[in-house]
């Protein structure tokens, strides 16, 4: 592979990686929020 093809490949990998990091990061944040809500509604139903 010539240098141009290697660089192209690296840029494609970077773009695909960034995409997945953003999408899965958002999904993880949603899961975190849902878990916090579960705890909040549990505390509401069972006040100390």
């Amino acid at each position: 592979m010539d240098e141009k093809a290697i660089l192209d490949h690296q840029f494609v990998v970077a773009a695909y990686t960034v995409t997945w990091v953003i999408q899965l990061g958002y999904l993880a944040w949603l899961a975190f929020k849902a878990r916090a809500q579960k705890r909040a509604s549990h505390n509401q139903q069972n006040p100390k």
Partner: protein, 235 residues
């Protein structure tokens, strides 16, 4: 039954994502002019198509909220949840488009960014919806949802401007691949990879949109219960 259907949808979406990835990397041939870097199109364009669609969901949700907030408060709350979910998921997809674009541009044009009409209007769109999310996060009081709905409606007006920018003005960004001038279009050998990825990213987007809507509806119920508790405590 509902849970099983949702589970099946998740499995199908994951399968579609894997297949889309395979088609993007191995299914589509190398572009004659750009080589491998052209493969970014299979993530870049569907991301913007999804972002525009979800901003439209936010737009419709905002209109519905303003229409029903007095006559049908429960419908208005549902509409508000859709508006928020649409804006947030739209921002996620728009962020993907705004980061994959400069990566592609650096190799194709030699620059990360230029202030042409397409890129600038897209950045403005992203900023409007980020401000929408910040408003929802930090503003309080009964007017917050109404203000957010108005901002959501005005923000969506930028979507057709972004879409038409490289038709109305001369831009560094290439002319439209689909629905552009005569001679535009994609080589037929690349179309399956393009449409599989379009389907995969929309399936993924609908999934996270639905999850965000569920989370927001639950938040509304928690907030309502907290408000009721506070009211009971003062009486």
């Amino acid at each position: 039954m509902k849970k099983a259907a949702f589970g099946l949808y998740i499995v199908l979406t994951i399968a579609l994502m894997i297949w889309g990835f395979y088609m993007a990397i191995y299914g589509a041939p190398l572009d004659a002019a750009q080589g491998e870097i052209f493969r970014i199109i299979f993530y870049h364009v569907p991301s913007f198509a999804a972002a525009f669609t979800f901003f439209s969901v936010s737009f419709l949700g905002s209109i519905a909220f303003l229409s029903f907030r007095r006559s049908h408060p429960d419908w208005a709350q549902r509409a508000d949840a859709w508006a928020l979910a649409g804006a947030e998921v739209g921002v996620v997809f728009c962020t993907v488009g705004l980061t994959t674009g400069p990566i592609w541009g650096r190799r194709a044009w030699g620059i990360w960014w230029t202030w042409d009409a397409r890129l600038t209007t897209t950045l403005v769109l992203w900023l409007i919806y980020v401000s929408y999310l910040l408003l929802r996060r930090f503003a309080a009081g009964p007017q917050m949802q109404t203000l957010a709905a108005v901002l959501g409606i005005f923000g969506a007006l930028d979507v057709p401007i972004v879409y038409m920018a490289n038709r109305w003005w001369r831009t560094q960004h290439p002319a439209p691949v689909f629905g552009g001038a005569e001679g535009s279009g994609m080589d037929p050998s690349m179309l399956p990879a393009f449409f599989w990825n379009m389907g995969a990213w929309f399936a993924w987007g609908i999934l996270i949109l639905a999850l965000r809507y569920i989370v927001e509806r639950k938040q509304q119920r928690i907030d309502a219960a907290e408000a009721q508790d506070a009211l009971n405590a003062t009486n």
